[in-house]
Each structure stands twice: as structure tokens, then as C-alpha cells.
């Protein structure tokens, strides 16, 4: 059973993504409403995939990426899901080690296919 972590402070979005991913039978979906909760979950568990917003309370999505790559030293696939698609931000995200970048508004179907690819299903 795969474990997926979704970090976003937009409740409606998290609920939609959870619904979609569990419906596709990708695995168990955990949620974190802010960067601190995300960090705590990441420290205590091992996930197979992380989907994260950029602007969240406490720690940004980019900080989460750095945390996973440099502190936890894991290569868990990370998808950044952000309303902000400025070139500089996208470049920075990939540079820090994100595996994919999706801008909002996003298509749930597209997200699912990208998740599938990263999980090698």
C-alpha cells in the first residue's frame, strides 16, 4: 500500500485530491494543512509521494522540498502544486529537487496521471 502526503491549506482542494487519488486506488492519502504539520508527518513516516502547495503557514513548499532532500536525505517524489507559476519559482522548485510542478487551476485527471507516472504504477 502506497502512502501519499498532500499538503495544502485549501480544504476543498485537499478533499478533492484525496477523493481522486483514493478513487484511483493509488494508496492511502494523508493530509497536512500547514508546513509544520507536513514536516512532523514527514519526520515520523515514510511516504511514497508528496504533493505540496508553495505558500503555506509555517514552512513553504520549497522548504519542505529542501527538508526532504537535505535533512531527511530521501528521494521521495515531490509534486509542487501552486497557484503561482512564475518562471523563477518553477526553476527554483526544480533546482531544489522537486520532481514535478503543476500550476493551479489544475486538472485532477492530469494530476492523477502524473502521480501514476512518479509512482511507477
Amino acid at each position: 500500500m502506497m502512502k501519499i502526503l498532500v499538503c495544502d491549506d485549501d480544504e476543498a482542494l485537499v478533499s478533492m485530491v484525496r477523493f481522486k487519488l483514493s478513487r484511483e486506488n493509488f494508496g492511502e492519502v494523508f493530509k497536512a494543512a500547514d508546513g509544520r504539520e507536513a514536516k512532523r508527518l514527514l519526520d515520523e513516516n515514510t511516504f511514497d509521494l508528496i504533493i505540496s502547495d508553495i505558500h503555506m503557514p509555517f514552512h513553504s513548499g520549497l522548504e519542505i522540498v529542501t527538508h526532504v532532500r537535505q535533512v531527511l536525505k530521501k528521494n521521495t517524489p515531490i509534486i509542487i502544486l501552486s497557484a503561482e507559476g512564475l518562471e523563477e519559482t518553477v526553476l527554483q522548485a526544480f533546482d531544489m529537487g522537486a520532481n514535478d510542478f503543476i500550476t493551479k487551476p489544475f486538472s485532477p485527471a492530469e494530476l492523477a496521471i502524473r502521480v501514476k507516472r512518479l509512482l511507477n504504477l
Binding site: 485549501d10 480544504e11 478533499s15 478533492m16 484511483e24 487551476p105 486538472s107 485532477p108
Partner: protein, 374 residues
């Protein structure tokens, strides 16, 4: 009666009566406020709870509808059933309708593709579009604007004619809301209103319009250079910045004449646009302008930055070099940076100049060569 007796008993003068009256007046007013606050708080709390409950309920239904519709062939009856049950909730109150409309608008902002089409369909099937259209006929501008916003977010293009009427509304927010609605709903000419627009186009509108254009189909984006000659300065500035941001190379041929525009802001923005579009063809034209703008430090700073990006001959680099002893620090800084980043020849020219001037630019050169400051 009682009061008069009391007044006479204590020998209260007219002056004092006024004070007592004022005191009583404000005390009573204060207590009215308190009552109002308590009532408002009570209703607010109730409404909030009600709203949260409704929202959660709607979200669950919407999730199910959207995901089922896009994943596999789920029987139509299950979709119909869900819609009908939502309709029943809608019937109960306008409050429920508003919560649903807000929910759809919010979801529409995060979701695109086929799922977002389903949201549009739900909006119509729940008859919320006629609810929004009714808002356009309401007296308050806020209601009208809200109606426009809902119709636009849910892409109800049929409303475009009713919305267009508000282009000349008195209220600024309503007018801006209308522009944005047209930008988003008008499929053929989303920015046609610019042709005859005489009003102000604030940076705020620029941000909004750019946002919506960048999220929409690229075929809808017009060639902004058509408005470079507009008599409205705001329109010129707006279309220049759009051409720059959207990298419309078709604008390049029209840029040289804007360098002689009477307004310096247009000239500044034109130089930025040339920089951003990397219009090498215009390097000669820009280099010729150095004398004209030498005294304007803001234009000069932009000019050297522009040359730093598009120069390719020795003459161009020579033109940048003259700015190394410009009276303004910023201009010197950007001139040095332009030469430093251009190519080896230019970098050597900079170093030679600095040696010739006994290291006067060493501070700047150290700064621009610092990797952590890039």
C-alpha cells in the same frame, strides 16, 4: 413629572440639564450599540455554523460528481440523483444557493480541464446562473458585481450582453469587474474595449488582466502592438507591458518610434520591452539614443541595461562604456554590470577602464562578480 420634581428638588440649572441630557443620550446610544453587537454576534455565529455544515455537505457531493464523471462510465442515474438532491437543498434558502455559488467559484479557481467543465454544467443545472443574472438587476453595485463575478468565473458566456452594459457604470469597482468579465468571456476580441477606452488603467487592472490572459487559451491573446498608438497614455503603457510580458516579438518593429515618445514612462517601458524581447535588431537604434537621454538617470539606467542585453558590435559596447562616468551611481552600476555580463571583450573593456581610472569602479565590480548577489 417625576423628572421635573427631581430637577427642582436638586436645584438643577439649565446648563446642567443640558449636560445630563447629553450624558443620558450617549449612554443610551452606547447601550444600543452593545445590543446591536450582541445580536450581530449571535446571528453571525449561527450563520457561520450553518454555512460550514452546508459547505461540507456540498463539497462531498461535488467531489463525488466530479471524480465519477471523469473517471469511468458511471450510470447517468447516479449523477441525476446527486443533482436532484442538491437541488432540493438549494430550494430551501437563498443562503444555501449563495453558499453553493461561492463553493463552485472557489473550486473553479483551483480546478481546470474536464472537471472544470463539469462545474460549469452543475452551475447551470442547479439553475444558479439565473440566480446570478437576477443579481445584475439589483440596485446595489456590490450585488451587480457579485453577479458578474459568478457568471464570469463559471464561464456563462450567454450573459455577456447583459454584462457589457456596465462598461459605463459610475462605480469604479463595478466597471473594473465588467472589464475583467469581458476579458474572460469574450471569445473573439477579449480586449476590444481598449479601442475607445479613455479612462484610467491602473497597475491593479494590469495585474488582473494579465492573470486572466495568462490562464486562458493563447489563441485568444491579441497582438498588443495595435494599441501602441492609442491616444490614451494608460492604454499605451498597458499594451507595452503586456507585449513585454507575453514576449510578443511581433511588436519589435513598432518599438523604435516609441523611443521618441513625449512621455518618459513610455520610453522607459519601451527600453524594458526591447531588453525583454532581446531585440538585437534594435541595438543600433538604442545606441544612437545615448546622447538624447544622458541627463535622465532613470532612462539612462534602463538604456544601459538594454544595451547590456542586445549589443553585438564594438560600437555598442563603446556606447555602454561612456556611461561608466555618468554622474548617477545607478547608471554607472548598471553600465558596469552590462559590460561585465556581455562577453569577454566587454569585460576587458570594463577592467581597462577601471585600471585607467585608478580602480574607481572596483567596489561595483566586486559587487557584480559576487555569486551570492546574483
Amino acid at each position: 413629572m417625576m423628572y421635573e420634581q427631581w430637577v427642582s428638588a436638586y436645584g438643577i440649572t439649565a446648563e446642567e440639564k443640558v449636560f445630563i441630557f447629553i450624558g443620558m443620550f450617549f449612554f443610551i446610544a452606547a447601550f444600543l450599540f452593545i445590543t446591536f453587537i450582541l445580536i450581530s454576534r449571535f446571528t453571525k455565529n449561527n450563520r457561520q455554523q450553518h454555512e460550514v455544515a452546508l459547505r461540507n455537505h456540498f463539497q462531498r457531493s461535488l467531489n463525488a460528481i466530479i471524480i465519477m464523471e471523469t473517471t469511468s462510465a458511471v450510470p447517468d442515474s447516479s449523477y441525476r440523483f446527486k443533482i436532484e438532491s442538491l437541488k432540493n437543498v438549494m430550494k430551501q434558502s437563498s443562503f444555501a444557493r449563495q453558499v453553493m455559488a461561492n463553493q463552485l467559484v472557489a473550486l473553479k479557481k483551483t480546478i481546470s480541464g474536464s472537471s472544470s467543465k463539469i462545474l460549469e454544467r452543475i452551475y447551470i443545472e442547479l439553475d444558479l446562473h439565473s440566480y446570478s443574472i437576477r443579481k445584475l438587476k439589483r440596485g446595489s453595485w456590490k450585488m451587480k458585481a457579485q453577479g458578474i463575478r459568478e457568471l464570469t468565473e463559471l464561464n456563462y458566456t450567454d450573459a455577456i450582453h447583459s454584462i457589457r452594459n456596465f462598461l459605463t457604470a459610475n462605480n469604479k469597482t463595478l466597471r473594473e469587474e465588467t472589464f475583467l468579465a469581458l476579458v474572460r468571456l469574450d471569445q473573439d476580441k477579449p480586449l476590444s474595449f481598449l479601442d475607445h477606452y479613455t479612462g484610467e488603467l491602473t497597475p491593479w487592472m494590469r495585474i488582473n488582466i494579465h492573470y486572466h490572459l495568462s490562464k486562458s487559451d493563447s489563441r485568444r491573446i491579441p497582438d498588443f502592438s495595435q494599441w501602441f498608438t492609442s491616444s490614451n497614455l494608460d492604454v499605451v503603457l498597458f499594451s507595452l507591458s503586456m507585449a513585454r510580458q507575453l514576449r510578443q516579438t511581433s511588436a519589435v518593429t513598432k518599438l523604435p518610434e516609441l523611443l521618441s515618445h513625449s512621455d518618459v514612462r513610455v520610453v522607459a517601458l519601451t527600453l524594458e520591452t526591447i531588453t525583454e524581447l532581446e531585440a538585437y535588431d534594435l541595438a543600433d537604434v538604442v545606441a544612437e539614443k545615448t546622447a538624447t537621454f544622458w541627463n535622465n538617470e532613470k532612462i539612462s539606467a534602463r538604456l544601459v541595461r538594454c544595451l547590456g542585453r542586445i549589443s553585438y558590435t564594438h560600437e555598442h559596447k563603446q556606447a555602454i562604456l561612456t556611461y561608466l562616468d555618468h554622474p548617477d551611481y545607478n547608471v554607472r552600476f548598471y553600465a558596469a554590470k552590462a559590460l561585465y555580463t556581455l562577453d569577454d571583450e566587454a569585460r576587458n573593456m570594463l577592467q581597462d577602464f577601471n585600471r585607467g581610472m585608478n580602480g574607481i569602479l572596483s567596489g561595483i565590480i566586486n559587487h557584480i562578480s559576487e555569486p551570492l548577489l546574483q
